[in-house]
Symmetry: C2
Subunit: 409 residues, 2 copies
Amino acid sequence: MNLPGPINPPARLLMGPGPINADPRVLRAMSAQLVGQYDPAMTQYMNETMALYRQVFVTENQQTMLVDGTSRAGIEAAIVSLIQPGDRVLVPVFGRFGHLLKEIAQRCGAEVHTIETEWGQVFTEAQIDEALERVRPKLLAVVHGDTSTTVAQPLAGLRELCDKHGTLLYTDCTATLGGNEFLADEWGIDIATAGLQKCLGGPSGSAPITLSARAAALIESRKSIEEGIRDVGDPVSEHPVASNYFDLGMVMDYWSERRLNHHTEATTALYGARECARILLEEGLDGAIARHDLHGRAMLAGTTAMGLKPFGDLEHKMTNVLGVHIPAGVQGDKVRGEMLNDFGIEIGTSFGPLHGKIWRIGTMGYNARTDAVLTTLASLEQVLRRAGHSVTSGAAIDAAYGVYDEVSA
Amino acid sequence: MNLPGPINPPARLLMGPGPINADPRVLRAMSAQLVGQYDPAMTQYMNETMALYRQVFVTENQQTMLVDGTSRAGIEAAIVSLIQPGDRVLVPVFGRFGHLLKEIAQRCGAEVHTIETEWGQVFTEAQIDEALERVRPKLLAVVHGDTSTTVAQPLAGLRELCDKHGTLLYTDCTATLGGNEFLADEWGIDIATAGLQKCLGGPSGSAPITLSARAAALIESRKSIEEGIRDVGDPVSEHPVASNYFDLGMVMDYWSERRLNHHTEATTALYGARECARILLEEGLDGAIARHDLHGRAMLAGTTAMGLKPFGDLEHKMTNVLGVHIPAGVQGDKVRGEMLNDFGIEIGTSFGPLHGKIWRIGTMGYNARTDAVLTTLASLEQVLRRAGHSVTSGAAIDAAYGVYDEVSA
């Protein structure tokens, strides 16, 4: 039998919109041996993970845990657990992941209303207020930062708008958490979901989630206990969540002191998620956000000096990802191919209306580092030069140093 | 800020019904650095993983891949993708996981019919035939081996029964795959799903799945492409799968040469799943099954010699897990606690009607080894002795050696 060889990936510096390189500490944590799912060591790790992610989301929410799956699993768990068929949902769409929230809500049977804006822009509060007034949805589902467009929707004022209509507020902060300000409690978020593969510096496969007391109570009211493990007196809902795996009522029970069996926790992914949070909190949230801001500005300054025009509304640009227009006459995929195959550096392509027009360059998590920014700029300059794009030699590096020098001055 | 320390789990020998210790090779594979999700190295790993799991499932099915989540995620992906609300589903329930299949199908809106048998028993073909005749379901969903009861339902004859009614055949082989015979093509399985945490020797968090051409075509006919990445001419289904994350049509597209973006593949989990299959296939399926059979028989002989009565229909016992009655006068949880806390060995408790009555002892994956069996038996003898259970000193070990000696003789 002819079997492929062992896992032995090529060295890559992942400077796209994510996933990026995992922090080696996270990979080491994930290489630890397993313990049983009800081992005191495991339940302690689960409780610690809850406490760590409360700090990451800046929340007091008891119900703060992990969904076992990619960030998209967290999104679907939140939406399917909050809504019932026929519920009205409002989704402000400003990029690919707005479409995804719409699509998931539709599959859950919601009556979905959208407002749309051009990719690269965000909504004003007035636009969202108007739509809320018109739709009066049960749920406002909005992406925080949409990597497809590199901008982040301000969320701070939405709670007040939602409160006028008793609307629940869900957000996906996969792309922003840990590298941009995110304040679950202060912003009155009912559910926020994330992933590890952006600013948190881990691999995809675990979705941190936090639920407000109100969201938790609503979901609790729909809870059923599985027949195979149901005790006398356990609830049987008449309107159960349309998914078992994503029924957050059951996930909460599994993470509660009752430890009611649901899935078998993905222990290795939990080890990774826990270490991601530890690394972030050791640095401190403010420090990590400042670091993402710094390296994001250095990358912006460097690419601009190289003659690459930034994409989108820079006032609302995420710290950790930058879109740049592919210069006229340059084949975008050829440049990306040379960057990857010859320099070992990955930069990103784009989706939908931006496909073929924009490169996306990330500076996030473990890769929000000076050396990662400088080697990417130095390499990109050479690849662009060879692609026939006129570049002033060294301008990008000098501009990036300019940003770094401001801080150290 | 007071942060918990690094992941540093206690040494445990996990001899319960799973998860068990991961093979250290799997953990090493999972500690490899990430590559981008469309990196040629990554897509090659994906293709190799498909080819490896075709061999594991013993199938020619093109559509053989991973669902990103625990084994329960694979189950839900299969069921939600196959059925539409109102479809009739038949579930033969012979343990906890039969209840789970019922529950998942109900949440998907199916009209679910069940037949039940006592925990520890399996169904005859005639019983299943009678139920198929009566219900004429679109889908027969049956667990292969149910760890809650330690027995495996024979599947070889079900295709013929299903063909009389055009019924699809789904099975969950999480608990059996790699340690018990499983022949997806020969048995005419339409979809089979699994997990890594049993005989495959990996951590929970990735669900291998294989789909027959018929199942794939059915799911393909319901496929929609997400609006954020939809091209002109791409399908928009009128009856889309009720989940985005678990829409196997989209998962198939992601694993196809088109590489249409869906979730962000959980790279570390994929590294692990790939290594699990490599380890299994290096040994050979027949060798691995024989090894599970051998150590399962040694554990059965040893516990029986210790005076522990085995549970369930031994003719249909899975190779890799054994139920034993907790002796009268012995506190089951106290024994399990001493085994875990003092000897570092985990054995399992039970669910539902067996709770408090049965221990479940596994010999699977990396832990289907002579030393694991012998240390478990030697330790259990001591713990039982101290719990006041009369044990003939050494009888268990001698009986286990007896089984091993037969093979080496």
